[in-house]
């Protein structure tokens, strides 16, 4: 069924969407970056951005869930990349974090630490597959990569995660 823009906007009221999707988006972002304040900011920014660009959403191309997850993922990646640039410019501000990482690798890894140690391109795939039960097609849309890449990265991420948790990595 084709919806015209007015019907579409009416259907997706911001408050209703926020109530329905703030928790899954927060869980995804938090499990990825493991920072509470950053995750809260990303959730808020996602819905503000959706409100601003709602007219660009096409229900025939993707579901609202996929669309919001993609928006949140892009916002998070942009924020993390900006932070990475600052890290290169002012490395002395980030020394404590580096020390923490090296210390934690001595002990047996928790699932949180193991996920954090996964390469970024593998981390999102395992989180979306396991915790959000999304199909490979949906994951491909969120991450904007081919389905074949999702399959191979999922396989590699599970293998890597197992190695990290067993301490054989």
């Amino acid at each position: 069924m084709n919806l015209n823009k007015a019907e579409q906007e009416e259907q997706y009221s911001l408050e209703e969407l926020f109530v329905s999707y703030k928790t899954p988006i927060y869980l995804f972002i938090y499990r990825y970056c493991q920072e509470e304040q950053l995750s809260i900011d990303i959730v808020q920014d996602t819905f503000l951005r959706f409100h601003k660009y709602q007219h660009q959403f096409d229900a025939r191309k993707s579901s609202i869930k996929t669309y919001l997850f993609r928006m949140a993922y892009q916002l998070m990646i942009n924020r993390l990349n900006k932070r990475q640039r600052w890290k290169k410019l002012l490395p002395f501000l980030y020394q404590k974090e580096a020390q923490h990482e090296s210390m934690s690798s001595i002990d047996k890894l928790t699932i949180q630490e193991a996920i954090k140690q996964l390469p970024e391109h593998q981390r999102a795939i395992i989180l979306l597959t396991y915790y959000h039960d999304l199909s490979q097609k949906e994951i491909a849309k969120i991450l904007e990569i081919p389905i074949g890449t999702v399959k191979s990265r999922l396989h590699a991420s599970l293998k890597r995660l197992k190695e990290l948790l067993e301490g054989t990595a």
Binding site: F18, Y26, D41, I111
Partner: protein, 78 residues
């Protein structure tokens, strides 16, 4: 591969990742917006001059060019 095909032992470990969900208001308060605005990275003012790490020659030439421009009026006075 989907969620069901993930090995059981790995699923058990993944289940250990509990997250407490904080209160998230839809709108940011004014203080947060101000903090975001202050912390927002801005475009480098040097970009319009196309100055980057390798263009040190340009860095040397721009002041000389500026001095030349500033001296132009004095040439007409002589």
């Amino acid at each position: 591969m989907n969620k069901k095909e993930i090995p059981e032992e790995l699923k058990e470990r993944l289940e250990e990742f509990h997250v407490e969900i904080p209160q998230i208001p839809l709108k940011k308060n004014k203080l947060d917006q101000l903090a975001d605005w202050i912390c927002k990275p801005v475009k480098s003012p040097l970009e319009f001059l196309s100055i980057h790490e390798k263009s040190t020659i340009k860095l040397g030439l721009y002041p000389l060019f500026a001095i030349f421009i500033l001296l132009l009026p004095t040439m007409f006075l002589i």
